[in-house]
């Protein structure tokens, strides 16, 4: 039995960036079927970055094959704290290329979640619920800024070998 919690997504602002007109429409149909509002749509990396800057969305769903920057480069640009309008924006990467190397690169670019195409309704919904219920802490390193790349942090039983700050920094928005 699927015990996934149900959420009203009607207040979310979502941007969908995919080079395929058909896939953009399909994603929009699925999201509205899940009772989210009709998303903003971008057919290129330039349009995606502009819409993100202009609309302050809650979520970006970006395809790997975007042009002229690919999806991973779009994620890296948005994780750049110096220039991004929202470096902690939740981002789901979608792609038909699902080799392990591609998934790893998506993760290393700073995407929060990855969805393989062809996608299903429940795959999309479950990633949304993961962002709601199990948000990953962000890590700031000299070489990386983005969600913690270790997926099952709570299930790790061994010694803590990574040097983690015992006093997490609170994001400026939360400190107010």
């Amino acid at each position: 039995m699927d015990d996934t919690n149900v959420y009203d997504l009607s207040k979310l602002k979502i941007v969908v960036a995919d080079p395929s007109h058909f896939v953009r429409r399909l994603l929009a149909a699925v999201l509205t079927g899940l009772r989210a509002p009709h998303p903003y749509a971008a057919n290129s990396s330039d349009v995606a970055l502009r819409i993100v800057a202009e609309t302050a969305p809650d979520l970006l769903i970006v395809d790997w094959d975007l042009q002229p920057m690919n999806g991973a480069d779009v994620v890296r640009a948005l994780r750049d704290e110096k220039s991004s309008p929202n470096p902690t924006l939740p981002i789901i990467m979608i792609s038909g290329h699902c080799a392990l190397g591609r998934v790893t690169e998506a993760r290393d670019s700073g995407a929060n979640e990855f969805i393989a195409k062809p996608f299903t309704v429940d795959a999309i919904y479950k990633r949304l619920v993961a962002l709601i219920e199990r948000p990953r802490p962000f890590i700031r390193l000299e070489s990386y800024f983005g969600p913690d790349r270790r997926r099952k942090i709570e299930e790790f039983a061994g010694d803590e070998r990574r040097r983690v700050n015992p006093n997490p920094i609170v994001a400026p928005e939360d400190a107010a």
Partner: protein
């Protein structure tokens, strides 16, 4: 250069998705999925036409290849891979899992530079035939016995091509 001993900063950013998404404990998840799937079903006819057009695109890409060339031109390769990727990415969402599988293996085949031989066009053509047959007969998921036969014949064609026959 990155200092490997540097201590990473860790924090939980503001989660606007969690702030805006209101729990609906009385709503059945199955009903929500049904609503999402209904949205997909409403695009099913359009999806079939889209998939047919991408199969036609495979043939058009083959026709673009220069007759005299022994190796496949990069533009032709790119066009075949784009069509195969479109088929792979969309078909499975509409129940045509076999089309996604076939398109995925075609994509991997054509993207392999060591197989960059004009004879591969015959294999591409057979894949387009297979996609069209699956759509014509509306074979869903793995396509059952007919699907297995289609996969077996494509596999044989790929083996023949790889063996140089």
């Amino acid at each position: 250069m990155t200092d490997p001993t540097a201590t990473p900063e860790q924090f939980l950013p503001r989660n606007t998705i969690a702030e805006k998404a209101r729990p609906m404990p009385m709503t059945n998840i199955a009903n929500l999925y049904a609503s999402g799937n209904q949205a997909i079903n409403e695009m099913a006819g359009e999806a079939r036409e889209y998939l047919k057009s991408e199969a036609a695109e495979l043939r058009a890409a083959c026709a673009q290849a220069s007759v005299g060339a022994e190796v496949l031109e990069p533009a032709v390769c790119k066009r075949i891979m784009a069509a195969a990727n479109s088929l792979r990415e969309v078909a499975g969402s509409f129940g045509y899992g076999l089309v996604s599988e076939i398109a995925s293996s075609l994509y991997n085949l054509v993207s392999n530079p060591s197989l960059n031989d004009r004879r591969i066009l015959t294999v591409v053509d057979l894949h387009a035939d297979a996609v069209e047959a699956i759509l014509r007969q509306n074979l869903k998921d793995d396509g059952g016995e007919i699907g297995s036969a289609i996969v077996a014949s494509l596999r044989q064609a790929v083996y023949r091509f790889a063996a140089g026959n």
